[in-house]
């Protein structure tokens, strides 16, 4: 085992998103960013593998049109050895197909690897396609939705969480694994680790450095609109009197709605 690549998305922190009440448009410009939660679990898992097997290099791969350095410093502080960024500034609207293509090309340029780890989905777009698309482009065995992982003599063995069963699957490396949030609890870097991380290298590539033509990234899907959902609810506050009186009013309302009984 020589190298693990972890794909990190610099995601919009959805808990801090604001909505324009009049237009229901999201205000994404300038919204705070962070490492997509699931990807953080992927990075944590890579670090735990390294703790068991010595001499493993962990590199992170990120595609971003902005400067993601603050986000990547956190990844380096957690324990990644080196971070690669592919800057896609000027090429807008890249979908999962283009993202996977860029990350797959970048993985090739990084060099030999044993394992690619990705979050099973992303915090903001929640598509859950990029990992599998990368596996397909690189013709790698893929194991998705993994909540337990072990590595032994060139083989990765992983437990997948399915709808009503769990399934243990193994594959020869190199392989690609996508992880769930259950797999671990990502560490919070100490001040010491943060300081050490400032010496680690962040390498930035342009699309041209990977020999990628813009046309290859033409989106295959198109978002017509993305609006805050309308919630048309009655918003009746049941007030007044004792708890007894309030719950009786509520119970009557629920019976009238036909949602209890029978």
């Amino acid at each position: 085992m020589k190298r693990i690549i972890v794909c990190l998305k610099q995601a919009v922190d959805v808990s801090q998103l604001k909505v324009d009440a009049a237009t229901r448009q999201l205000i994404t410009a300038g919204a705070p960013r962070k490492i997509s939660d699931f990807d953080k679990n992927a990075l944590e898992e890579a670090i735990r593998i390294r703790e068991k097997l010595a001499n493993v290099q962990i590199v992170t791969l990120t595609m971003s049109s902005e400067d993601p350095k603050t986000v990547l410093r956190e990844a380096l502080a957690m324990g990644a050895d080196k971070a690669y960024v592919v800057n896609n500034a000027g090429v807008e609207g890249i979908d999962t197909s283009g993202t996977a293509y860029v990350l797959a090309e970048a993985a090739k340029k990084v060099g030999q690897f044993d394992l690619i780890l990705c979050g099973e989905t992303s915090l903001d777009s929640f598509s859950g396609l990029v990992g599998s698309r990368i596996a397909e482009l690189l013709k790698l065995p893929q194991i998705t939705s993994v909540r337990k992982l072990s590595i032994e003599s060139g083989t990765v063995t992983a437990e997948r969480a399915l709808e009503d069963a769990s399934e243990t699957v193994k594959a020869k490396m190199p392989a690609l694994v996508t992880v769930t949030r259950e797999i671990n609890q990502p560490r919070i870097p100490s001040l010491m680790m943060i300081m050490k991380a400032s010496k680690k290298e962040i390498v930035t590539w342009a699309l041209a450095d990977l020999g990628i033509q813009k046309e290859k990234l033409a989106p295959k899907i198109e978002v017509i609109e993305a609006l805050a959902p309308k919630m048309e609810r009655k918003k009746v506050k049941i007030t007044g009197g004792t708890v007894q009186e309030i719950v009786e009013k509520l119970a009557r309302a629920l019976i009238q709605e036909g949602v209890v009984g029978r």
């Binding site: 198109e222 017509i224 719950v247 949602v259």
Partner: protein
């Protein structure tokens, strides 16, 4: 694959039989609208009985690939079957069930066919040009995106219970048996274990009593259980109660179970957007919270400002009496 002018119909595939039936219901409507054929794909071993059933649920045609090597779902092998069929038959639309196996399969199929994929569509329609439009939750529940395609086939994945399973009709379809070469598997199954059956599936509950961090002790779940007993419902929770406190094994929300019961009673939970995204389609939402400013009240039909420890037992008694 570039835009093609010919229209070779709508395909439906899922590794879950129920989800196949649900997608056939929606697929039938889309096919009628587009005046095209609806085809179900059945892959597995000894699946003739199941395949024959699909016409009753709306399929004009069933492509059946029946082979002992396909007894269990295996992504590389199933992918090669679907890819082979799609490359030869050139469907216009492929709907894939968005299960843990189905979504990665759709992603790889789209990649191999060099086309787009819109995942987790809760709604599907066609626009005036006949293009597929999928609606999905995005930005952690902050937005609903309407997404369409620039390439064909148009691949969309569909979550369980997004569409209703149609009533079986007395109708005939064409069953086509196909023999397809499969790629060798790149992964090997070591073992499979059924998950400890959490008795009933929460998605099927008609009423759900759900709690958040307002529940202060694990044992107090009993309060929810008692009310659930009266309204014949199930008990749910928010993510922190399952992931952080480990009082429950599963939770309701965008990253957990998405539910649409007739009645959702949210107790002692503030209503963060990710939780709300999982309950949006409930018929009636009741919020019980000590904090009158809790955002859950903004999306509730009925709100009670109060302590769940007082309100729940009283509500249980009141309902019990009235429903007798």
């Amino acid at each position: 694959m570039s835009m093609m002018s010919e229209n070779k119909g709508i395909w439906v595939y899922s590794d879950s039989h129920d989800l196949t039936l649900e997608m056939l219901g929606k697929g039938r409507k889309l096919a009628d609208q587009l005046k095209t054929q609806l085809t179900a794909i059945m892959i597995g071993y000894d699946v003739q009985g199941k395949a024959a059933e699909l016409a009753k649920y709306g399929a004009d045609k069933v492509y059946m690939v029946d082979n002992p090597v396909l007894t269990r779902f295996q992504s590389d092998m199933y992918l090669s079957v679907l890819y082979d069929l799609a490359v030869n038959q050139k469907p216009d639309i492929i709907l894939v069930g968005s299960t843990k196996n189905g979504k990665p399969l759709a992603a790889r199929l789209a990649t191999r066919l060099e086309t787009g994929c819109v995942p987790d569509c809760n709604r599907l329609s066609v626009d005036e040009k006949g293009k597929l439009v999928g609606e999905r939750i995005t930005y952690g529940g902050n937005a609903i995106a309407r997404v369409t395609f620039n390439t064909k086939p148009q691949i969309a994945t569909v979550p369980a219970r997004a569409f209703e399973k149609p009533e079986p009709q007395d109708r005939q379809g064409q069953l086509v048996k196909l023999d397809v070469k499969t790629d060798p598997p790149k992964t090997e199954l070591v073992e499979t274990k059924p998950l400890q059956a959490s008795s009933a599936r929460i998605e099927e509950a008609e009423a759900i009593i759900s709690c958040g961090r307002g529940l202060t002790k694990k044992e107090d779940k009993a309060l929810l259980d008692e009310l659930a007993g009266v309204v014949r419902g199930q008990v749910g929770c928010t993510r922190p109660l399952a992931e952080d406190r480990k009082w429950f094994t599963e939770w309701v929300g965008l990253s957990g179970h998405k539910v649409k019961p007739k009645l959702y009673i949210a107790c002692g939970l503030s209503g963060v957007i990710q939780h709300v995204a999982g309950i949006r389609d409930s018929k009636v939402i009741v919020a019980i919270n000590k904090d009158p400013e809790a955002p859950i009240f903004e999306i509730a039909d009925y709100g009670v400002v109060g302590d769940l420890y007082e309100v729940l037992p009283a509500l249980k008694d009141a309902l019990k009496k009235m429903l007798q």
